[in-house]
Amino acid sequence: MNVSKDLIAASATPIILAILKDSDSYGYSIIKMVKELSENELIWTEGMLYPVLHRLEEQNLIEAYWKASETGRKRKYYRIREEGLKELEAQRKQWEMVHSALSKSWANQNQK
């Protein structure tokens, strides 16, 4: 499915925050998680993930640290912060509100 650019941009923050809430992670693994969660429907331009991550970092929603992986490669891991959890909760409410509004309106149309 071709998801519109605006929707991808808008959904990136809550998706990333949700993944990081589960456990600390690094860019490549976040991308893989997104693919899995969306059953390969949400395709991000992978390079674009990092500017988003850095912006979240600047907004103090997440923080970064370097850790060596099992293969010895140094990876930049991201961890969600208290503010990030709050932001995620706020976003979840917003998306649920939109979702429920859309569901209701579509249910109404089906009845007609």
Partner: protein, 451 residues
């Protein structure tokens, strides 16, 4: 054959050249690329297929770079000594600063130590002693700094420190008779030799690799520039201190000359090393910029000199002082050529600065050959002295180096060899310098009877 490593590196070089990325950003993206490539190869793709797909998935470099510029805009003026966010990095940084402070104090104290044996720094008799030992007060600590930083093996530590000890022993135990020519030569050549030994500590276990030697050459250029700048700062501080204290009739002259400059000088060296190490991934190297500004200007001067020489029919008048002058010319040209090469990426196409390098070398070799042919005759007819042999040896050493570079450049332009061969040749030639410096410093006194 598809060289995966080379392709990945050239991709990250491409990112680097966009200028919007911090070095850590590039590392992060490069790791992403590597992860993806590995996964795809694991899924059965060949290396080049995996690389192409991964690059495609990462997306258009221009677009990514634009996105980064929005995030990093306040970072365009880079803050060299800003605190790192990474706690591990932070503690490492603190440790390094502590080392710099401790080593500066130790080096300064070591330099003051001979005074306990009656060799006072400002007495004319002790001047030569301090001159030839100067590098031994500082360089072992710089080497130690890198040894600790790179956690070198015991074998390397023993060899490096062994060379320092042997050098200290040799240059101070040798007798010396008037006119003390060889002693002075030892004093001039020991620091260069020991700097190359310090280079082994800088490069660590990979000291034989061309890449790490190139890094050491870069480090040398940057250290020189930053060292001069920081030293200027120390001078200003000294003058300022003297001035305000003299306003209240306190004369600090003795303090400044006996302590401030000794400890200050050692501190300048250590701080320079530290700063250059920290800045290497953050700030563009300055030596290549200087080299690119001045290489056209030097080329013009040299061509004008050749023109004038031909038009006026004069060959350069040859004395030893002139030979040293021509040695310096070769050193300058080598420096210009080298630092232009050092900022060049191996897979770049031949550019205007490559041709200019060749022209510079050709001009220098031409001038020096004329000078050398004139001088050889004169030198031999007036008898051999250590100074002449040393100056002549250096001239030939540099001439061979530049001639070799010119030959390599020609083959490179004819597409017979890869640019990396030129780098490899240049970095291997460092051996020749180390050996010659050691010969002049340690063997000349013996050969010439310690005169």
């Amino acid at each position: 054959m598809f060289d995966l490593e080379l392709n990945i590196r050239s991709w990250s070089d491409h990112l680097r050249s966009r200028g919007n990325f911090k070095e850590t950003d590039i590392l992060e993206l490069e790791n992403h690329l590597r992860d993806e490539v590995e996964d795809l190869i694991g899924a059965g793709l060949s290396e080049d297929e995996a690389f192409l797909i991964s690059v495609k998935r990462l997306g258009n470099v221009n677009l990514i770079s634009q996105e980064y510029s929005k995030v990093n805009s306040d970072n365009l003026w880079k803050h060299l000594l800003a605190d790192s966010i990474d706690p591990e990095e932070k503690s490492k940084n603190r440790k390094n600063i502590m080392l710099v402070i401790i080593f500066s104090l130790l080096a300064g104290t070591l330099a003051k130590l001979p005074e306990a044996f009656g060799l006072h720094m400002n007495e004319p008799d002790a001047m030569l002693f301090y001159f030839k030992n100067l590098s031994l007060f500082i360089l072992p600590f710089i080497a130690a700094f890198f040894i600790i930083k790179h956690k070198l093996s015991w074998k390397m530590i023993a060899s490096i420190m062994g060379v320092f000890c042997l050098t200290a022993f040799a240059i101070n135990m040798y007798p010396s008779y008037d006119p003390k020519d060889t002693e002075l030569l030892t004093g001039i050549h020991t620091p260069i030799f020991l700097w190359l030994v310090t280079g082994a500590a800088y490069m660590g276990a990979k000291w034989k690799e061309s890449r790490s030697r190139m890094d050491f050459i870069r480090f040398t250029g940057e250290a020189f520039i930053y060292g001069v700048l920081i030293f200027c700062g120390i001078m200003v501080l000294a003058v300022f201190t003297m001035m305000i204290f003299s306003a209240i009739q306190v004369d600090l002259g003795w303090f400044i000359s006996d302590y401030f400059f000794v400890y200050g000088g050692c501190a300048v060296a250590m701080i320079t090393v530290y700063v250059v190490e920290v800045k290497k991934s953050i700030v563009e190297n300055f030596a290549p910029i200087l080299a690119k500004i001045f290489s056209p200007l030097f080329l013009i001067t040299m061509i004008a000199f050749i023109g004038a020489m031909v038009l006026m029919g004069k060959s350069p008048f040859m004395e030893r002082e002139f030979l040293i002058g021509f040695d310096l010319m070769l050193v300058l040209v080598l420096g210009l050529v080298l630092y232009v090469i050092s900022s060049r990426r191996a897979h770049d196409k031949a550019g205007v600065f490559d041709y200019m390098n060749l022209a510079l070398i050709a001009a220098a070799v031409a001038i020096d050959s004329i000078a050398l042919s004139a001088i050889l005759f004169r030198l031999t007819s007036y008898g051999i002295t250590p100074n002449k042999v040393a100056a002549l040896g250096e001239n030939i050493l540099l001439l061979v180096n530049l001639g070799g570079l010119a030959w390599m450049y020609l083959r490179y332009f004819a597409r017979k060899i890869d640019f990396s061969i030129i780098e490899k040749w240049q970095t291997s030639y460092l051996y020749a310098y180390a050996i010659w410096m050691a010969i002049v410093a340690f063997l000349f006194p013996v050969i010439f009877g310690f005169l």
